[in-house]
Amino acid sequence: MTAEVQPVARPPFDAELRAGLAVVGGMFPPTITPDLIDFMRVSYAAPPIEDLLAAKGIVCTDDVVVAPDGHEVAVSVLRPKDAPGERPAVVYAHSGGLMFGDRFSGIDLVLDWVSDFGAVLVTVEYRLAPEHRHPYPFDDMYAALEAAASRARDWGLRRDRLVVAGASAGGGLAAGLALAARDRNGPALRGQVLDYPMLDDRGTTASTHQFDGIGVWDRVSNETGWTALLGDARGTEAVSEYAAPARARDLSGLPPAFIDVGAAEIFRDEAIAYADGIWRAGGDAELHVWSGAFHACDIFAAHTSVGRAMIGARNDWVERIIAD
């Protein structure tokens, strides 16, 4: 008769990562409600990047590409300073829940591809929600992808070795780019790197409900992000698969996908389902589900054994695809 409440059953966080949350929680609360968007825009803004680029021997050139509505989207083209000529390239969408962050947020890990594999990185200042709803963030990214192909010579890129990549919200955008490039006969892609991607606006998976109020990016944060992007359309049949790639009915004909995700985060189930969908359609996907990992733990706690393993597995895959 007693009203005992069973705690939510969920996989535990890794011990080193749980320790990391004591620090991460101070700048990235588990539950992001709309009133915290301004706080997050300050806390998640990328720090100055010049010293890091200099230490890694990377040259940064700023440019703009034009979105379908005429908006000029800022992009940075980052290349190794001692690698002239046309290089393999990655078009990158940053993390930040579609509402915060900038084109240098979480860039440290991606810079390894420039310094270690000689890639050129095109990172994009796509417009943010809620001020700019779908399709603006997606259109900005697609404009950058098209520019990477059409201005390949200018930017020193190899059109035949083009990859899209993104983390979290950026992972969802990267998956949308791969779908759109297929549907529109757009630039040929050699791969898509989807780090713990934000794919599904419906919020109905088991993992979405297992991590409520804890870790990084919980159910409520996800609702905040999708509502910012889609408004009242969130969860309805009106949502485009370029905004929420989990809704895509056809996952055939896509470039090889690398998908990683934590076992202890809300995106676990949608990431697994997306990889499974690609396999069922006869495609190529490599899926890593990291035990004990919270969302984006490789960005926040790269020093941990789980963080290092995640970064190592991803870099091995990227090296296979793009290195000379």
Partner: protein, 348 residues
């Protein structure tokens, strides 16, 4: 993580970063992680290589801020950045240049964690003053010594504020603060003068005012208040608002037999249950409850008929009010998600 600490400091210049360093190593000790993981955390927090040397067996480990092994040649280290852990064990930070604000605390906690990991320091009580002050099992004399060490004055009244480490602090009042291990994980505890009522941190709980020897009680009521939070609707809860009731809640064992709570559960099963009970416990009449809930009084009347039938008593009559109010708060505590962190396995 050094970079993240910098962001926290920019967001809240008065935030105690040392407290987060402490919480981080507390979790690592609870998790019983190895020397490499401890050095990796220290290196990441400090932004420079962290090292370890043991004489027997002879072993040197150096880890960089990304958690990778540096070579195992023991460098010359400034004695100011080196600490003897125990006989034959040494740890250090390879800081080139001026001491950074968190270096001392990182080195101290690293040394403690390495000592425990190597089985050299399990028996003694390593807790710090605020943890001792807030533990009723510690001798009252020792608690008063801790209070004085923290700059608190016996005879004066204070209250404890509790918040999780992920709380957002628009303003940060000054007072002794630390992380305290609880069964809900590491909790940020802060002691303020009794006159401080309003705290802007979300979520947070403000305990009742007591003298220093009873601050453990203030802490327990603050923890209950914190668990009654439900952000963003209820960001901070003041224990004073519940008077003596919150002391009873703080001292009631978890899972105690509470038949009235099962009745509340049955009411909460209705879609309108939570909203209706929330307005009933704040009202003295059906009409006021209807206004609070923003529904027509006839709607409230029909809901209350169901409530009365389900509870088996009238919540506006005699002890019915007390029974519902108490059961409602216990229900909220049992369904609280505000501290829903995976519990550490070895905390008291």
């Amino acid at each position: 993580m050094q970079e993240l600490l910098g962001r926290i400091a920019r967001l809240d210049p008065s935030a105690s970063l040392g407290l987060r360093v402490i919480a981080c190593f507390d979790e690592l000790m609870v998790g019983n992680v190895n020397t490499r993981a401890l050095l990796a955390a220290a290196a990441s927090l400090a932004g420079c290589v962290a090292g370890f040397h043991s004489e027997t067996p002879a072993r040197t480990v150096r880890i960089d801020p990304r958690g990778h092994h540096a070579d195992d040649v023991r460098p010359e280290v400034d004695p100011a950045f080196q600490q003897d852990v125990s006989d034959g064990l040494t740890v250090w930070l390879e800081r080139n240049g001026a001491r950074q604000p968190n270096d001392a605390i990182v080195l101290e906690r690293l040394a403690l964690a390495v000592r425990v990991r190597h089985g050299r320091g399990r028996e003694s009580d390593h807790r710090r003053d605020l943890s001792l002050l807030l533990d009723p099992d510690v001798d009252v004399q020792a608690r008063c010594v801790s209070a004085i060490t923290l700059g608190l004055r016996p005879g004066m009244r204070y209250r404890v504020v509790c918040a999780p480490l992920f709380a957002v602090w628009p303003e940060h009042p000054q007072g002794p603060e630390d992380v305290v291990a609880t069964r809900f994980g590491a909790i940020h505890a802060l002691v303020l003068p009794a006159s401080a009522h309003e705290v802007t941190a979300v979520p947070s709980g403000v305990g009742v005012a007591t003298e220093v020897e009873d601050l453990h009680h203030s802490f327990r009521t603050a923890l209950v208040a914190l668990r009654l939070c439900d952000p963003p609707a209820v960001g901070s809860v003041l224990a004073d608002d519940f008077g003596g009731l919150i002391g009873l809640l703080a001292d009631a064992p978890d899972g105690s037999f509470q038949p009235d709570v099962a009745l509340v559960d049955a009411v909460m099963a209705y879609a309108w249950g939570a909203e209706t009970l929330a307005s009933v416990v704040r009202s003295h009449s059906l009409r006021q409850a209807a206004r609070e809930a923003g529904v027509h009084h006839s709607t409230m009347q029909s809901r209350l008929e169901t409530v009365n039938a389900t509870l088996g008593f009238d919540p506006f009559e005699g002890y019915g009010r007390t029974r519902l109010g108490t059961a409602y708060l216990v229900w909220r505590l049992r369904h609280s998600r505000v501290l829903d962190l995976p519990a550490p396995t070895a905390a008291p």
